[in-house]
């Protein structure tokens, strides 16, 4: 059974159809990269899987571990093991980063029938993960993403992912806005989570990210459909020749 299976998915946003019959199958242990021109529906796909309201599924189905994902609310999807790394992480003034992440972790642990972690255990855990991402401990005392630089926000997303240990990681343009050093750190954070039980879907514009997080599959999303799939070599060809090359059918 696939971890995530998307069948003929049609999604409309504000009445406009964005995804037009998308199919994708992601097995545990795999890393998929989704590339495609602006406006092709990449973010609609990830936000839709995460359960954002306003993304209307008009047709098709999404199965997570064989169960209908579309019946679940956003928080239920998160507790089931789906994590979305936002392209533009949201700032939440007045809510401390530590408190936020501890609440999230305990909500997920509760779902899994695990006991809550207390403040001391949590602090130990988060400090360990922050070290991995070379994040300063001052971020513990800051409000969620408030006043963070673009790169700091992206690291904070990965930090959350490391703490929450989801089964399916959806990373929406996690590489955008990162300099090369930050990119390497973020990638090593992501790679540290790779294992045979977990899958990742990376949405990106650039092949650069895939130098550091090697995908098993690369898909080209265009006009709401996956029009081409291949292995990591496909990303190099895309980088070199652009999407037009696929569109013209020369990829085969």
């Amino acid at each position: 059974m696939a971890l995530l299976e998307i069948k003929n998915l049609h999604t409309a946003v504000k009445g406009k159809e964005i995804l037009k019959g998308l199919n994708l199958k992601v097995n545990a242990g795999e890393v998929h990269a989704i590339m495609g021109p602006n406006g092709s529906g990449k973010s609609t796909l990830t936000q839709g899987i995460a359960g954002r309201e306003g993304y209307e599924i008009t047709q098709g189905e999404v199965l997570f571990e064989g169960k209908n994902l579309l019946e679940l609310e956003a928080e239920e999807r998160a507790r089931a093991g789906i994590f979305l790394g936002f392209q533009y992480p949201i700032e939440i003034p007045g809510v401390g980063n530590t408190y936020f992440l501890k609440t999230a972790l305990n909500a997920i642990r509760k779902e899994q029938g695990l006991s809550e972690v207390d403040a001391m255990e949590f602090l130990q855990l988060i400090k360990e993960k922050m070290k991995l991402l070379e994040m300063d401990e001052k971020f513990l005392k800051r409000n969620v993403n408030e006043g963070f630089s673009g790169g700091e926000k992206k690291r904070n997303e990965i930090l959350q992912m490391l703490v929450l240990e989801p089964k399916l990681c959806l990373l929406d343009e996690t590489d955008s806005g990162l300099d090369i050093d930050s990119l390497k750190i973020v990638a090593s954070g992501v790679n540290s989570l790779r294992n045979s039980d977990r899958a990742m879907v990376l949405v990106t514009h650039y092949q650069r990210l895939l130098d550091y997080i090697e995908p098993d599959f690369v898909h080209v999303l265009k006009d709401g459909q996956i029009i081409h799939s291949g292995d990591k070599e496909l990303a190099y060809h895309l980088e070199e020749k652009g999407y037009g090359w696929v569109l013209e059918g020369k990829a085969s």
Partner: protein, 446 residues
């Protein structure tokens, strides 16, 4: 209303010992009678109806009711451990619950009833002055207070006197048997260079009948004096609270006033700060949080009468259920008040479709060389923030409560008195069902 209150007034006057006070109160009662209760036809009361008050006959509390109430003195106790405190139950002074011993030199803290004996001349002057004030002639509730005033706080800090610990004025109310009204009257004077932190708090327990607190508080803040004022209104859910707060500021005086309004079925505060000498600085901070059918009205006015004064006002409101709030914030810059720097903002968060806010920030500027800004916003919770929290597994209601708390807590951050800030945060956390409050208090604030 007249016949009932006429009788009440006659009865009341028989107990007034001070010959000088009688004519003042007679005059005030006549004004009250003439004006009657305000109606929504009057511009200043357009959005706040006092019909529910006008339709009832509120009796004055008697000592018996207060002593019965003092059984519940847990709630009537001071908030802080080492503060000075004057405690009143149903408007009646409670010496056994109060703490005003070992005062520093130059500081007087007395219940008004006591001051009328010990400090009669000064109290008389204060009453005469207040009866000459237009408020007692133009505002029905102020006149009503003046007519029946017999108790309150009499605070005087002499030149350079410093009260090293906060002073709490606690008005605890509970009604038993009858609808009751108390008319707290507070006179607070800081002579030049004096410093005071004062918490004015109103709490109550809902009984079968509603009670009304109709309070008037006057501050005079002398040259270079510093006042920090915290007003915490947590009246019982079925109570009425009407208050008038006047602040007069002299040269280079500094006032910071925080007004937290959480309780009462209907509450209104009219706050006026008059900056009447150069260099005066005034900060007004407010937070109101209404739910159910509550109605909270804040009328504020900062009057820049002279050049080179600064003021700022930040009021925030949260409205839930079918509650209503009114904010009327006025900054008046008179023709002489050149070089005034002032800003005013009112931000409202609506949690329910049925909640209604009427907000009107108003700048009236008659001088040309000033820097003034004002604005008001009204909005709902940011859905992208809610989704972000939910996408991490956080319960949606919890997410909403957390974001609401964050909105409210920001306005408490400026409260320097940490103990009070923490207590108020706890009140908000409880109201928002955010458990784990100990942890929240710690890490949310960071």
């Amino acid at each position: 209303m007249t016949e009932f209150y006429q009788k009440e007034f006659q009865k009341f006057q028989q107990g007034v010992q001070e010959a000088w006070l009688k004519p003042i109160q007679e005059k005030a009662f006549a004004s009250f009678e003439n004006m009657g209760f305000p109606t929504t036809q009057q511009e200043a009361w357009k959005y706040t109806s006092v019909k529910a008050i006008a339709e009832q006959n509120f009796i004055l509390p008697n000592a018996g009711s207060a002593s019965a109430a003092s059984q519940n003195h847990d709630q009537a106790q001071a908030l802080l451990e080492n503060s000075f405190a004057l405690v009143f139950i149903n408007g009646i002074f409670q010496p056994q619950l109060s703490r005003c011993n070992d005062l520093p030199a130059g500081v007087t803290i007395l219940p008004l009833s006591q001051a009328m004996i010990q400090d009669e001349k000064a109290v008389q002057q204060a009453f005469v002055k207040s009866s000459e004030n237009k408020d007692a002639q133009e505002k029905a509730f102020v006149a009503w207070n003046q007519a029946f005033a017999q108790e309150g706080a009499w605070i005087h800090l002499k030149k350079n006197a410093l009260l090293d610990r906060p002073l709490e004025l606690i008005y605890f109310s509970l009604s038993n048997g009858h609808a009751q009204v108390a008319h707290p009257r507070n006179f607070i004077v800081l002579e030049s260079g004096a410093k005071l932190q004062v918490i004015e708090s109103y709490r109550g327990m809902a009984g079968e009948n509603a009670y009304l607190n109709n309070s008037v508080t006057d501050f005079h803040v002398g040259e270079n004096a510093q006042l920090k004022h915290y007003r915490v209104q947590e009246e019982a859910a079925n109570a009425f609270h009407i208050a008038s707060l006047n602040i007069v500021q002299e040269r280079h005086s500094q006032v910071e006033s925080h007004n937290i309004a959480l309780g009462a079925a209907m509450a209104r505060l009219e706050l006026e700060a008059r900056l009447q000498a150069s260099g005066a600085d005034c900060s007004l901070h407010g937070l109101y949080f209404t739910r159910d059918q509550q109605h909270i009205d804040n009328q504020t006015s900062i009057d820049h009468a002279v050049p080179h004064c600064t003021s700022r006002e930040f009021y925030k409101g949260i409205l839930d259920d079918a509650s209503q709030a009114v904010f009327n914030g006025r900054i008046l810059v008179r023709p002489d008040a050149q070089k005034t720097v002032s800003e005013l903002s009112n931000r409202n968060l609506l949690l329910s479709k049925k909640a209604v806010i009427n907000t009107k920030p108003l700048l009236e500027i008659f001088a040309d060389d000033v820097k003034c800004a004002h604005g008001a916003t009204t909005g709902r919770l940011d859905e992208s923030q809610v989704f972000y929290l939910r996408s991490r597994g956080i319960d949606p209601q919890w997410a909403r409560n957390l974001l609401t708390y964050a909105f409210a807590a920001e306005s408490l951050e400026s409260i320097e008195l940490t103990v009070l800030q923490e207590k108020l945060k706890q009140v908000l956390l409880e109201r928002l069902n955010l458990k784990e409050s100990a942890l929240l208090g710690e890490s949310l604030a960071q």
